[in-house]
């Protein structure tokens, strides 16, 4: 497998350029300002507020995604029916949709003049310019990340485990809860991490659908954009927090999808 020296040099150079290009901006966030200034800007009330809102809305969105996405992914993984491929493609659509388009689409569907706007209004539910709207936008863009991962995790379960459960007197619901969920745990957790990462960075759809109001809909990414004209240090500080969060999420997704999946754990 040892190619000629010049070709190996080309490969190494390509990797070096790629690595530099991708990591330099991230590193720059931490070296651009002295650490003390970084911490000081984080202490500012608006920054904390934005981070808190980000945490609350992403967790709320994740809970919704888990509650609906897990059974939906199980159904897609265990049943073969006409139109299944079309359905899977529709679910994956938000992955490639431009975020601004997602925001417009949400407005058209759930906004005051949207298809379901009248229904929501009569139920007293307001989403636009509200925190609830942020959660809706995050759920919309992040759920495909989880559902795709969950579906393939369910599909990867040894089918004889599920069959054994049935012959032992457990119905499908119990088999799902006691066998499928633990067996697919690694994939489900890494899917959760990926969805969380996507939700945490969400910007476009939220801005279009829910707006950017401090304390109500202004999540950390929106706060960064607002500040970067006026208070660059504060924007950098918030960015640094998001970078750290992203790294933690990425590493845990990688760790979960490799090591925990080996089923070392004998407990239930």
């Amino acid at each position: 497998m040892n190619g000629s020296p010049w070709f190996r040099a080309v490969l190494v150079a390509a990797l070096a350029v790629t690595l530099l290009f991708l990591t330099l901006p991230v590193v720059a966030i931490f070296v651009d300002i002295p650490p003390a200034d970084l911490l000081a800007s984080l202490g500012e009330e608006g920054a904390v507020e934005a981070l808190k809102l980000s945490l609350q809305t992403t967790v709320a969105a994740l809970l919704i995604i888990l509650a609906f996405g897990t059974p939906a992914a199980w159904l897609l993984a265990t049943r073969r029916f006409r139109g299944r491929t079309v359905l899977v493609t529709l679910i994956e659509l938000p992955l490639v949709l431009p975020p601004a388009v997602a925001g417009i689409a949400l407005l058209a569907a759930l906004g005051p003049g949207g298809i379901l706007g009248g229904l929501l209004d009569s139920l007293g539910i307001r989403l636009v310019f509200e925190t609830a709207g942020v959660v809706v936008a995050l759920t919309f863009v992040a759920s495909p990340f989880y559902i795709r991962q969950a579906q393939s995790a369910f599909e990867a379960i040894d089918p004889t485990l599920l069959q054994a459960s049935r012959t032992l007197g457990a119905g499908e619901a119990r088999t799902f809860g006691r066998i499928a969920l633990p067996a697919a745990r690694a994939g489900l957790l890494s899917g959760t991490a990926l969805a969380w990462g996507r939700a945490l960075g969400e910007f476009g759809a939220t801005l279009v659908f829910a707006g950017s109001f401090r304390g109500i809909t202004q999540t950390a990414p929106l706060a960064i954009v607002e500040r970067f004209g006026s208070d660059f240090n504060s924007a950098i500080a918030l960015s640094a927090v998001l970078v750290v969060a992203s790294i933690v999420i990425l590493l845990s997704a990688k760790y979960l999808s490799t090591s925990v999946g080996r089923g070392r754990d004998a407990r239930i």
Binding site: T160, Q163, A164, R166, L168, G169, G171, R185, A266
Partner: protein
């Protein structure tokens, strides 16, 4: 009584098969891989739905395409042992067994699970995780789990094939004891005829989704209905006690007759099964018993003569059943017919020995 009748088409192969197993009996389905044996178990357990058919057990109808009845697998209560045992990897041994004990009050489950494990000498491993267990240990946990719910039928899919040769001998002995004491019908799937002969009260040779021949193992080996069955049934198995023979050979004193046979295989003294392929056996007139250099000579009575084209399968009685295969020319020359006495002879190197 388990009654099974199903016909169904799969891509590239279809299954059309009918069988019955009485309570306390074991029917072994034997055949090459891809013959549809495991599919029979899956249909019986309700894991696969056939196009047409009827499955009933103990008077209860589990499946009837005519009456649109299809009982869910969890309500059929089959003790199913899967080929690779399918132990739940995230539960330890006792929790695997307790999983099937839902009708038992929660606080009694652990004690009962350990009791079941104890029947298979696995009580000490109650807290062990499946991945720390050896193949033989996993098999016993799987059996304990399958027996746990008080199954209506036992379905065993290649229960010994995942084991190494040494473990298999012991597991086969334990399994045959379990089957002898079982009070429910058992269907056992295997690709190994010797295993089917050992564990099944009757053997059904399955090929291409159909039962090619059904009968006792001896019948199948001595009177195969086709050359496929003749090839598949292969080695005849003789049981006896091993000891040291002359010139470094192992000698086996056969049960049911006072004759001994020799083998080049080595074996510990004690109970063994000796097998020899029918086509390794030469038949001679009774008067020529000492002709030739082969080590083994047994006087035998011809029980049956089955013609398969140019081959003739001869069922013999040497105190135990034995099958030989000769050419039609030889069969005519020897005037083989039931009741005639001949000498069966074969080389010591053609005798393979399996320890019990």
């Amino acid at each position: 009584m388990l009654e099974f009748e199903a016909s169904t088409a799969f891509p590239g192969f279809d299954l059309d098969l009918k069988l019955e197993v009485a309570a306390g009996q074991c029917l072994a389905l034997a055949g090459p891989s891809g013959a549809g044996k495991s599919t029979v178990l899956r249909i019986a357990a309700g894991l696969v739905r056939p196009d047409r058919g009827r499955v009933s057990c103990g008077g209860q109808v589990w499946y009837d395409s005519g009456r649109a009845r299809d009982l869910a697998p969890e309500r059929r209560r089959c003790g199913y042992v899967f080929q690779d045992y399918a132990l739940f990897p995230h539960m330890n041994a006792w929790r695997n067994v307790a999983y099937g004990l839902r009708e038992v009050p929660r606080r009694r489950r652990r004690a009962l699970a350990v009791e079941l494990l104890d029947r298979f000498e696995m009580a000490d491993f109650a807290d062990a995780s499946p991945e720390t267990l050896s193949g033989g240990e996993r098999q016993r946990v799987a059996l304990a789990r399958a027996m746990g719910g008080g199954p209506e039928a036992l379905l065993l899919d290649e229960p010994l094939s995942a084991l190494d040769a040494r473990t298999r001998a012991r597991a086969a002995r334990e399994l045959s004891e379990l089957l002898r004491s079982a009070e429910v019908p058992t269907l056992l799937v295997t690709h190994d005829f010797a295993e089917a002969a050992r564990l099944g009260d009757r053997v059904a040779v399955v090929d291409g989704g159909r039962i090619v021949q059904l009968g006792s193992a001896t019948d199948l080996a001595s009177k195969p209905c086709s050359s496929f069955v003749a090839d598949f049934t292969g080695a005849a198995v003789l049981t006896g006690n091993a000891g040291t023979g002359p010139l470094g050979l192992t000698s086996v004193l056969l049960d049911g007759c006072r004759a001994a046979i020799s083998s080049t295989d080595t074996a510990q003294p004690g109970r063994v099964a000796a097998s020899v392929y029918p086509w390794e056996i030469t038949l001679l007139p009774e008067t020529e018993r000492s002709r030739g250099s082969a080590q083994n000579h047994l006087v035998a009575e011809v029980v049956s003569v089955t013609s398969l084209g140019a081959r003739v399968r001869v069922g013999l009685d040497v105190g135990q059943p034995l099958s030989a295969e000769v050419t039609r020319v030889a069969a005519v020359e020897l005037r083989l017919e039931p009741g005639r006495r001949v000498v069966a002879t074969w080389k010591a190197s053609a005798t393979r020995i399996m320890e019990f």
